[in-house]
Amino acid sequence: MLMISPRMASGMQEKQYTPSLLSFFIYNPKFGPREGEEEKKILFYHPSEVEKNEKIRNVGLCEAIVQFTRTFCPTKPAKSLHTQKNRQFFHEPEENFWMVMVVRNPMIEKPSKDGKPATIEYQEEEILDSVYGAVLRQCYSMYKLFNGTFSRAFEAGGVELLRQKLEKFFYRYLQTLHLQSCDLLDVFGGISFFPLDKMTYLKIQSFVNRVEESLSLVKYTAFLYNDQLIWSGLEQDDMRILYKYLTTSLFPRHTEPELAGRDSPLRPEVAGNLLHYGRFLTGPANLKDPEAKFRFPRIFVNTEDSYEELHLIVYKAMSAAVCFMINASVELTREFCEQLDALVGPQLTLLASDICEQYNINRRISGPEKEPQFKFIYFNHMNLAEKSTIHMRKTASVSLTSVHPDLMKILGDINCDFARVDEDEEIIVKAMTDYWVVGKKSDQRELYVILNQKNANLIEVNEEVKRLCATQFNNIFFLD
């Protein structure tokens, strides 16, 4: 991706290229161990137009690197390979199945001068291993959510079935990767929780219980409001990838009709007496049409133990969205959907407006938001709760940040330093631009604060952050 840099000199400008995906492939060396069989190892390769021998060579190189690094550390093989022009990331999600992502380093193209050709300068140290390593692992998690594990596919239908599934999924998914805007939040892969008072939370709990009792087929439920999670019955790791799917893919696709005006043709058909605003985001788009076919997406959860395949029903009313997950072996009929619609629609509509009202009351009580003053990112490893006042919008395409990318990278550096030891630590940095960055780690929680106080010293910066912690985080962070 090309961005024109603000550095301009006499009409000739430097072009800044952001990191981009060069190639992505998946292989299993056990599938083609003998010479002449190398092509059999390759299960997926992007870009597919690459010549066969080059694919084999690239895969062979990765195998060799992994073997080589195992001599130094047999249990923990290669994670990344840094070269001048690109970085390769390695991930072995299941035994002998390897995923490799090759990212081109950001570069600056300096214009040709006095007859000399244009030069390219590669910025080798720019991108963070932790960020793109996390992106690669997330590729696997997302694939597994919708397709189950590689081994199961192989067991069910051999290499051919596995290849088909990989092709179908990654061909589309890789197009949604926006490597130029990946940052610390990708390392966390966290979930944004919606802040609620106890009463409303209990109302939601009892709603979920009631629905689960009436519709006994429902195995797991998750409740979200405004792209933020309130309650989930799923395991953490499954919920975190489902959350990512919902907030970056499913919900953005369905926002427009709700925002449309009353008389707009986009407005969904509702029941005659307007009982509720509920509708299906997955499954039947229009319950009134008996001819319309529908199906629910299938997801796979608990792959480490019980390995369950479930229908994913996502039902929304105004800003509240509920996910119902039902065993995939059950056939979900139109009658069932109508039953669900009639049961959930009105209750969810009421609940959604309750939440909205309560939220507004709370905001009025707590006074004007103090948050916008502080630019911070918070993450709790225990419940995956994340909060960022730096990122303004998170959609599938881009995550806009209100701070300079270099500062985000400094945050990434601090996060890497924290990851080395499992103890409470604090790191304070004064950047070249005189911005201050404070990182605190305490008891599985991490907090990063960016302060634009150029003339402050360390003591003053410390006081500011203490103030933030006292108001926002109730003195969770104890280090002075």
């Binding site: 130094f72 910025q123 630590e425 940095v429 004064k430």
Partner: protein
């Protein structure tokens, strides 16, 4: 493939490749050093090899015979390379690209420098006096300095070579040594002797460009010995009190590195740094390496190529670290973990004050010079390359 590659293995192993001419160097490390730092260590190893063989020799050998086994020429020098790897783990000089001077009263140092300045002979280019590896005095040839400055790397490699070869302990040594950053293709002829046998703590090193000048250079040594005896300089040197961190006056300060940066160029100084003796809790070899590793990490963050920073404060359960770089200096300090931020910042002020007070003793401000090269013999790009020579032979 690119000429520089690094592999990073999960959980902190890094494998780094460096190619210099026909040689490929590989390093595997578990430390906190960055790829750039590991590469620079490999470069030091390469330079140490060059200091023994010269770059021109290496290139020529491999040009003639691509499969040559360089170990044949490096036989006997493994301990030099081993010593280099060890010393890079514990000495801050490599990290800071600077040398440490022995803290000495300016009058004493001036007296010694004058002694060195007077004991010259044609083609002598460098006279160095050291006490336990720390610089007492260094005098350089005027023309040589104008042509090309002596780099701290060369000095470190030279000292490592001398230290690692126990043969240097007795008698006098006359041996070819290349200074790779100065001129990688030719040898200097180095005279080494200890002025205080059998303690062997005070080392004299004289470098000449003339291979046949042994007797003339040995005569210089004799003159220096005489001068040093007259002024009782040896006693002054061995009685010197080394820097201790308690002198700064901050209780929680455990150790620091300080390198001044505002040195005017015409002073043609070697970059220098100062640092106190390492004390508890870092007095064991293992802890010294651990402390240096912390400094390496601070350094790589502060001097990051794409996102350098001005200040880094890192509080952990074991120690609190502070790194600071300004236009005038860079410093790295290690405190006890209980230190408060105000104490840490206050320590910077106290340290600067102490350095200012002691700076004439801690640093060699204007290194003296002498003139020994006739004008027509200027220019050291004419290589005097030796292919058949014995390393570390005593005469």
């Amino acid at each position: 493939t690119a000429s520089r590659e690094q592999l990073r293995v999960r959980y902190g192993h890094i494998i780094v490749f460096l190619q210099k001419g026909p040689l490929v160097l590989v390093s595997a490390s578990k430390s906190h050093q960055s790829e750039l730092q590991l590469r620079s260590e490999l470069l030091h190893v390469y330079h140490q090899i060059v200091s023994m063989l010269t770059q021109a020799s290496i290139n020529r050998i491999f040009q003639c015979r691509k499969n040559y086994d360089l170990r044949r020429l490096l036989f006997g020098s493994e301990r030099v390379l081993d010593a280099l790897l060890d010393v890079m783990e514990t000495e801050a000089g490599f990290l800071l690209s600077a040398v440490q001077c022995l803290p000495l009263a300016p009058s004493t140092r001036d007296t010694i420098s004058q002694i060195l300045q007077k004991a010259i002979t044609p083609n002598l280019v460098l006279s160095i006096l050291l006490y336990n590896g720390q610089l007492v005095s260094i005098v350089q040839e005027k023309m040589v300095i104008e042509d090309a400055r002596l780099k701290s790397t060369d000095l470190h490699l030279l000292l490592n070579l001398i230290r690692a070869s126990s043969a240097f302990q007795t008698g006098e040594i006359w041996t070819p040594i290349c200074l790779p950053c100065f001129n990688p293709d030719c040898y200097f002829y180095t005279y080494v002797a200890y002025l205080d046998p059998p303690d062997c703590t005070i080392c004299l090193v004289l470098l000449s460009t003339d291979k046949d000048a042994f007797y003339a250079v040995a005569e210089c040594k004799r003159k220096i010995e005489e001068g040093v005896r007259t002024h009782n300089a040896l006693q002054c040197i061995s009685k010197v009190q080394l820097c201790q961190v308690c002198h700064v006056g901050v209780a929680e300060l455990r150790h620091f590195l300080f390198k001044p940066l505002d040195v005017p160029d015409h002073h043609s100084q070697l970059p220098q740094f100062t640092s106190p003796e390492v004390e508890a809790p870092y007095s064991t070899e293992e802890k010294r390496i651990y402390l240096m590793d912390l400094y390496w990490h601070l350094h790589s963050r502060i001097h990051s190529t794409l996102r350098p920073i001005k200040l880094l404060y890192h509080a952990t359960q074991r120690e609190t670290l502070l790194a600071l770089v300004t236009g005038k200096f860079e410093m790295y300090a290690c405190f006890s973990p209980l230190v408060t931020k105000s104490t840490a910042i206050g320590a910077v002020t106290k340290l600067l004050r102490w350095i200012k007070k002691e700076e004439d003793c801690l640093f060699i401000r204007s290194p003296p010079k002498y003139s020994t090269t006739p004008p027509e013999a200027r220019g050291f790009s004419n290589s005097r390359v030796q292919t058949n020579k014995t390393l570390f032979g005593t005469i």
